[in-house]
């Protein structure tokens, strides 16, 4: 339960405070209800989704004849049980597009079109199962590559003195806000020439390029804030740059690397435009698959809500488990100003 009491409150009743409380609750409701609606809907049978609002999900007697419990005298809990289903998730994962549901079809022995009723169906190119794997395949290298490359660059920019260092960094700061739209056409043509369109390396490279300016910027700010004495003594002990980089810099920048990794991971995971253009339907990622389901008429709300929730699952886990790092990674660029 959300408590709105102020820790510093003097305990007196206060109208402003009451109104503020109402305001907070209203805003929180507006922020929560849409997501709750999606979650509830994704567990309801198709017939009910299309005929009753999700907020009536606990009413066990509404909806069409076909959705009613066969025994009118069944208990509330029994009736409620038939009003929720995991079919939407199974259908979304396998990419089932038939008129019933994947599980029903398989149980009755009629194999759905192009499927085998085995674990292999999770790899159906139309399904979210396959898309999940594709998203993983896109995201992991697209997170590791830019950070690895940025670590070296950031080290040079923070602890080496050389001509042009200032200019390089100033350019980086500028590049951070270049919209990806500005580079799409030439890169698409370049990839077409190299036969890279529709392959994972195309997206990895593109995300690396666009992740770098922010990654270098964030890491450089972290590294240059480390105390100088650390390096001086190591240097006087005869350590070279490579040793300092390995033994001092990397361990000390781990929290920043974590923040950056989470930020970049979620950014790539949630991206639509880059996957849409460089991968498209050949290796559909989750966001692509969903946007396709929205724009094509084939998929109903039952599939769409389940698919959307599947795509949100990992980000949500990351967010709630590692919220502090995520917020830091997001804010680092702006906070500096």
């Amino acid at each position: 339960m959300i408590s709105l009491t102020r820790t510093k409150s003097n305990g007196k009743f206060d109208l402003t405070r009451l109104l503020t409380g109402i305001g907070i609750v209203l805003i929180l409701l507006v922020w929560l209800i849409p997501t709750v609606g999606l979650l509830v809907t994704s567990f309801r049978p198709v017939a009910l989704i299309n005929t009753t609002g999700w907020w009536t999900a606990l009413d066990v007697n509404n909806g069409p004849e076909s959705a009613q419990h066969p025994d009118p005298n069944a208990s509330y809990v029994e009736k409620l049980g038939t009003r929720f289903t995991i079919n939407n998730y199974v259908d979304a994962l396998t990419g089932y597009r038939g008129t019933k549901s994947y599980l029903e079809d398989c149980k009755s022995g009629t194999k759905p079109l192009g499927m085998s009723c085995s674990i292999k169906d999770l790899l159906n190119p139309r399904g979210m199962g396959r898309a999940f794997l594709n998203s993983v395949a896109v995201t992991i290298p697209s997170t590791i590559l830019p950070i690895a490359i940025a670590l070296f660059a950031a080290y040079a920019l923070s602890w080496m003195k050389f001509k042009g260092r200032y200019a390089v960094f100033a350019i980086l700061v500028g590049l951070q806000v270049v919209p990806i739209q500005m580079t799409l056409v030439p890169v698409l043509r370049m990839f077409a020439g190299m036969g890279l369109n529709g392959t994972f390396p195309a997206v990895w490279l593109f995300h690396t390029g666009f992740g770098l300016p922010y990654a270098i910027y964030l890491l450089r700010n972290t590294m240059s804030a480390l105390p100088k004495d650390l390096f001086e003594s190591a240097y006087l002990d005869g350590a070279d740059h490579w040793t300092i980089f390995k033994t001092i810099i990397l361990p000390l920048t781990t929290p920043a690397i974590a923040s950056l990794a989470i930020y970049q991971f979620l950014w790539v995971w949630n991206d639509l435009l880059v996957s849409l253009i460089f991968l498209g339907g050949s290796k559909p990622v989750m966001t692509y698959q969903i946007s396709n389901m929205v724009t094509s008429l084939g998929a109903g709300w039952h599939l769409l809500t389940a698919a959307a929730f599947l795509s949100m699952l990992l980000p949500m886990i990351v967010f709630f488990a590692l919220q502090r790092y995520f917020v830091r990674g997001m804010m680092a660029g702006a906070v500096k100003g």
Binding site: R6, T20, P34, T51, V173, V185, P186, T305
Partner: protein
């Protein structure tokens, strides 16, 4: 050993720094710098980049020569038959929509973020309340698009399964087709943007509010300032620099915005923005010249912010 005049760690062979920088520089040159220059070049060419844009001009039609793609990008959506038609077409063009998005989303996120940050400051469930507002940041625009498309759902039959239309019906109103009704639809899309990005603004602004020394607030309260006066005359002016950073970040985000519009309306029903138009030109129509011209117009809007960013950086460096 002679005492070094520079901090010893900053000494190395002249090539070493560039070795550390090399991979980053190569990748950024190939994927950002070179394509940017190339994009500018392509914007003066025809559809497939094989000839000057001038060849696409038609007899008897207005023509801007090599700037033909820019003429298309700037004027194609506009109806110049009468001043009234002009304004009507402008208002639902990608430029008109950009103004709506900028005004609506930037002010919406910053104001709600600021007010919420102040409201929850110091309450017991502050962390929980804030993570609820921040949560949409973690999900994709696509996911948010689906969530809100369902909220706005317009049932053609008697039953409204979208919660917004159900509420309207419950109060005896007529259900609204939120996503196809011009110009209401763009505002409905902006609400989705606000829902997603308020958490970002709120977190930054909240951190700034917390950095105001307690004594400053206390002193003004002792002087008899009301909550609102403290907010308007003390807190807001002190955190103005942060507010400005937040506003500029949001302006850049709005200018680049693509996913929400693409997923929810596909840019139809007068909801196009520059990014979705560019996508249509380059991908659906294979008009690379026109697509890149739109991209160049987009970056022209962003250039001032690039300059601002670099200036801010130089100031920071000077203070280091």
């Amino acid at each position: 050993m002679a005492k070094p005049t520079v901090a010893p760690v900053m000494r190395q062979k002249p090539l070493v720094p560039w070795l550390y920088l090399l991979p980053a520089i190569i990748i950024m040159t190939v994927f950002i710098l070179y394509p940017m220059i190339n994009t500018v070049g392509l914007s003066f060419k025809n559809a497939d980049g094989s000839a000057s844009a001038e060849v696409t001009c038609r007899e008897g039609q207005p023509c801007w020569g090599a700037f033909e793609n820019y003429r298309y990008a700037l004027t194609n959506e506009l109806n110049t038959s009468s001043p009234k038609a002009f304004w009507e077409s402008f208002w639902i063009s990608s430029y008109g929509n950009m103004i709506k998005w900028l005004l609506g989303m930037v002010s919406g996120t910053v104001i709600i973020g600021l007010v919420f940050a102040v409201w929850v400051d110091g309450i017991k469930s502050e962390a929980l309340a804030k993570s609820i507002i921040f949560m949409p940041m973690a999900i994709s625009f696509v996911g948010a698009g689906v969530i809100w498309k369902f909220v706005y759902n317009y049932g053609t039959s008697q039953v409204q399964t979208g919660i917004l239309n159900a509420i309207i019906s419950a109060f005896g109103g007529e259900p609204v087709a939120f996503l196809s009704k011009v110009p209401l639809n763009t505002f409905m899309l902006i609400i989705v943007g606000i829902w997603m990005w308020t958490g970002f603004c709120m977190t930054l602004l909240s951190a700034a509010i917390k950095s105001i020394p307690e004594e400053v607030i206390e002193a003004s309260r002792i002087d008899g300032a009301t909550d609102f006066e403290v907010f308007a005359k003390i807190q807001v002016p002190i955190i103005m620099p942060t507010i400005i950073v937040v506003i500029t970040t949001m302006v850049i985000n709005v200018l680049k915005l693509f996913d929400i519009v693409y997923v929810m309306t596909g840019g139809n029903f007068g909801t196009n923005v520059l990014a979705t138009r560019m996508y249509t030109e380059m991908y659906t129509n294979s008009q690379y010249g026109r697509g890149t011209a739109i991209a160049v117009i987009l970056i022209l809007f962003i250039v001032p912010f690039i300059v601002m960013n670099i200036r801010r950086f130089m100031k920071e460096e000077a203070m280091r």
